[in-house]
Symmetry: none
Subunit: 200 residues, 4 copies
């Protein structure tokens, strides 16, 4: 669906996407009907299909825009910081910021991972995100700032921690956003911490 839209049209489209995103996140993609979306917006059914060629396309679009928006935020936060470890930290904090404002993002991503027709788009974006981090990690290793290890795995470790903490804590104790960010950064940089242990 590639219509040339007026300013008002673009606004409508955006509203539809936001409204639908919230509903999808709250009720699930399938349980949320197109009828429900247009009713909720107080418009006719035709409006939906004027802006999107299908429910599926709408969802894909929401996904795409979300991930773009997140990435822009990260890049803005990182700026031209030269220290790779610091860049990682800034990226984590920016992500948490963004996620705090876009809570439903999680649910949508999770759902998307659930049906093959959406996983392709998902994977593509994932790879971009991972690629960004991998770059920092590699630099960090070269600079001796990060221990040696498979950069991709380290990148995924960072993603895993960040997303999980965001998901679990950002919404319950929103006021402690700062503390959550600190914890995420600390875990990524140090893990469980000094554990000069009796290994095996």
């Amino acid at each position: 669906m590639n219509r040339r839209l007026t300013a008002r049209g673009r606004e409508r489209r955006q509203q539809l996407m936001e409204f639908a995103a919230r509903r999808f996140a709250e009720n699930g993609y399938h349980p949320t009907s197109v009828a429900e979306i247009v009713q909720g917006m107080g418009v006719g059914k035709g409006v939906f299909y004027w802006y999107f060629s299908s429910k599926e396309e709408l969802f894909a679009e929401i996904l795409r825009e979300s991930q773009q928006s997140l990435r822009r935020r990260q890049q803005a936060a990182i700026g031209d910081e030269p220290d790779p470890v610091r860049r990682i930290e800034l990226g984590i904090r920016a992500s948490l910021d963004w996620l705090a404002e876009h809570r439903h993002y999680f649910t949508l991503i999770r759902f998307a991972a659930t049906e093959e027709r959406f996983t392709a788009a998902l994977r593509r974006n994932q790879e971009i995100a991972v690629g960004d981090i991998v770059r920092h990690v590699k630099e960090g290793i070269v600079a001796g700032r990060i221990r040696d290890g498979d950069p991709e795995m380290l990148a995924h470790g960072i993603l895993g921690v960040t997303n999980e903490l965001a998901h679990q804590f950002l919404f319950r104790r929103a006021e402690e956003a700062e503390a959550v960010a600190d914890a995420a950064v600390a875990f990524c940089l140090e893990g469980l911490g000094r554990t000069a242990a009796p290994h095996r």
Copy 2:
């Protein structure tokens, strides 16, 4: 649905659950119809409703059994290991083992997190899993083996890393299960490693 089942009945039920789990994971819960499930098993629709009162119940059952099974595996692995850090490591490795054998588990969990009617069951199980880890973490902190920090956050950090790495690597490079486990453990214990950095 709590029928008294014969041995053969229990087997049938189990087969249905396994078949459905695979389908749900591959196509998604909603896109997989009851008709498809019974057809795939070569039985009539009556069979399905003999063993499960609804599609929803079937899904909940699958979820429940999966999580039980995973937890049993973890506990078996940990045994009576006294070192809390070591217990965490054993838990991570056991989880990865189990996940390697039950790939679709991920997709099901993700989907469940997507619709409210399933999140309750999910949360309950999550809490149990987190509780297990939190216990080890607290002990570790007390014993000076783990740096001070919110135990719950640390526990989620562990979960986040483990699940993400499992999801990303266990299926692509199944032969390197060992390496993935090592990476997960290392990330949890050390994060990105020594980074005595020029902070700011």
Copy 3:
């Protein structure tokens, strides 16, 4: 759609086809909704899709069965008549008989010729029908009973006359079926008749 049907099932299916055929002929294919069909039969909508995978399939099925039935009638009438001209006559009369009993057949055929997705099936059947006649015509020419000419064109001439007369007269003056048949046969055998004319 290829379900194994019980006796009752086959009957249902047949009823649906007959009911739908009448409606399609009366109101048109598109204006006749599936809802209308099932309502008219007093059954639920699911029944329709139990027997046919789509409205389109139903229509194609109706077409197929009609043409089969007509051809069977023709063959029965012709039997083993040795005279090719007589065979043509018998074919014409049998067709008119059948058409008198299956009035809606015309409208359905006409509609089918209207949309590409149906023309394929149509053409296939047309070719069979034409082939039957062509055989008789060729024999007739060889036997000197029919004037020389492109047999296929002659066959279509016969079809054109028969169908047109059937369509125009069989329904208006049903009592004169005999007369219509006589006229059709006469026109096919003699055209407008002796016209030794002052050509130009």
Copy 4:
């Protein structure tokens, strides 16, 4: 809809009708949407409803104009030819000419015969066409040039042959238009030809 149109307006209207006619013939009346028509012409929807009050009216107009055009061609061809048989022949040839240039006409007529709301207009025109031929036939009978028979049936015989042959052959072997016309005329004048047969 009876707007007073500028020269440009009349042209637009004509273009719309031609474009729509082609689409209707290719895809069918119902499957061809107004949106498709205006898109195909590169104009907005308003244009359509400026020239036609409804899709139905458009179709009726197309029908009307086609039949008018065909009849004009026939009359021009016949001129003031005194011989009725010759007039019939000229009519047949003119029809085939016209049909060769307006292939989609067939499909439209066929479709129109499919839905009651269009059959009225159709019948009216049919009657005119038949009336024309009937006049020639009657004269022919009186003049002893045509065998005795129900003139209306004979007229329909002519129509049936002409249309069927046009439909079947004009489009496949366009280069043989002449031959098709000859065959049609011959069939109408002589049928299958001399068949002094062992009638029963």
